[in-house]
């Protein structure tokens, strides 16, 4: 990297920039569903949620506690889930992670991954319960979707860290 990184005692980036990059990446993640294909079963992982968790767990303090409200609302407009489901579930995840932050202060990446796995499973299963009648045959596919999403979490976290470092260069 050619540009020098900023140190811990340098000025923080401008507030607009600091908030815009995480929000923009998470919204881009939600926008994956406008890719032109018509799916006959849910095979895409929820990229918006993945990136949200990536930012929250890899860079705590960047997103405010209420950040899932607008981002979840945007995701609800696109995802096809009933309006308000992402707002509620993502916010509950954030509050839960905040509580875990108080108990488990020093964590390694595996614990973060476990927390992310729990959050992803919670959001997807609860989302399936509110959106789809109980008799629908989506559970096997949902399980696969959860597994793929959990496997993709490290990538989302790496992306958040990488973007955060790029952001510090500006």
């Amino acid at each position: 990297m050619s540009a020098p990184l900023k140190g811990a005692y340098d000025d923080e980036p401008a507030i607009g920039w600091r908030k815009a990059v995480p929000a923009a990446t998470i919204m881009l993640g939600s926008l994956i569903t406008i890719w032109p294909m018509v799916a006959s079963f849910p095979f895409l992982p929820p990229f918006g949620l993945l990136l949200l968790l990536g930012w929250r767990l890899a860079r705590p303090g960047v997103l405010s506690i209420w950040a899932p409200l607008p981002l979840g609302f945007f995701d609800d407009l696109l995802s096809g889930q009933p309006m308000g489901s992402a707002v509620l579930l993502w916010q509950l995840c954030f509050i839960g992670i905040d509580l875990i932050d108080q108990r488990l202060v020093f964590r390694d990446f595996w614990q973060d991954w476990l927390i992310a796995a729990g959050s992803i499973a919670f959001c997807l299963i609860a989302g399936r319960l509110v959106a789809t009648p109980l008799g629908a045959h989506v559970d096997t596919v949902l399980l696969l979707q959860i597994m793929v999403s959990v496997m993709l979490f490290p990538l989302a976290a790496r992306l958040a860290v990488w973007l955060d470092r790029r952001r510090a260069v500006e």
């Binding site: 032109p36 409200l69 308000g84 596919v141």
Partner: protein, 292 residues
């Protein structure tokens, strides 16, 4: 790395209040989310306008990307078409000869059919096409099965109109924006379509499973057996779908008097979709004072 302990941001009252208000907003917001969710569950079209507004922006992007993808995908197809054209020609000639015999028989049957229908005084309603458009995107990360059509109320698309592809039924318009519309695919778990078997006219319901297939459930109480290959078409009951649109073909019989079926239309091919007028739209309310 230990997370920054930002729960106590120091002695600044301002910073403490900001943090506290953040928590208040978060909890209040999740309550608002719960209320929104309840509203959306009780009254699904409640937020149609908001979704349609965003779809107006995303639909042109999706159709643009799809167009570029089609152009690239057509190149290998073009090359292999050129090579295979001779074999194809021979095969088609043979098929044509076979089809001729069938055509003669079908003509005779069609003539008989027309005469018998006139005899019965049956009035066929012609269902006009509203618009031909493409399905451009779908809810690929959700358990619901919706697709976005790149035509809307400016092209005459209205809520409740049936959507069909060249092979068969695709679904029904759920919400229509000015230039885009949301389609409930027939594989959605909340889609139910009255159908009948072509073989003997047995009435049934085609219910989406959510995994790309359909459950066919007999509408009679008697035990029905579904044979692989049985074809189901729409009945016209309910007034949404015109009769005789192909819906699905049975793959196998399942327990509990149901058949597992695959729909004829495969919407994932991103093919053309034809929006039709609702077969028998709901009649407008009579003005007060008139007696029917």
């Amino acid at each position: 790395m230990a997370p920054p302990r930002n729960r106590r941001p120091g002695f600044s009252r301002r910073a403490q209040y900001t943090l506290f208000i953040g928590y208040v907003v978060a909890v209040a917001g999740s309550l608002v989310g719960a209320v929104l969710l309840a509203l959306a569950t009780l009254d699904p079209p409640a937020f149609a306008a908001l979704r349609a507004t965003l779809a107006e922006v995303t639909t042109p992007i999706s159709s643009g990307v799809a167009g570029a993808g089609r152009g690239l995908a057509a190149i290998p197809q073009g090359v292999s078409d050129y090579i295979a054209v001779h074999d194809e020609n021979e095969k088609l000639h043979k098929q044509l000869d076979d089809a001729k015999a069938l055509l003669m028989r079908a003509r005779a049957i069609s003539y008989d059919n027309r005469r018998l229908r006139t005899l019965l005084g049956l009035r066929e309603r012609i269902t006009d096409a509203v618009v031909t458009a493409r399905l451009v995107s779908s809810t690929a990360s959700s358990t619901r099965r919706f697709a976005v059509l790149n035509a809307g109320s400016w092209q005459g698309v209205k809520k409740g109109q049936p959507v069909r592809g060249p092979e068969g039924l695709i679904g029904q318009i759920l919400e229509a924006g000015p230039n885009s519309a949301r389609v409930l695919l027939l594989t959605d778990p909340e889609s139910q379509i009255p159908v009948r078997r072509t073989r003997d006219g047995m009435p049934a319901l085609a219910i989406g499973r959510g995994d790309g297939l359909l459950d066919i459930k007999s509408a009679n109480s008697t035990a029905a057996d579904f044979l692989p290959g049985d074809v189901f078409v729409t009945t016209g009951t309910g007034g949404v779908y015109a009769p005789n649109i192909p819906v699905a073909q049975i793959l196998r019989h399942m327990r509990g008097d149901a058949g597992l079926a695959r729909s004829f239309a495969q919407p994932d091919t991103l093919d053309f979709a034809l929006v039709q007028q609702a077969f028998m739209p709901v009649a407008p309310a009579l003005p007060p004072g008139t007696t029917p």
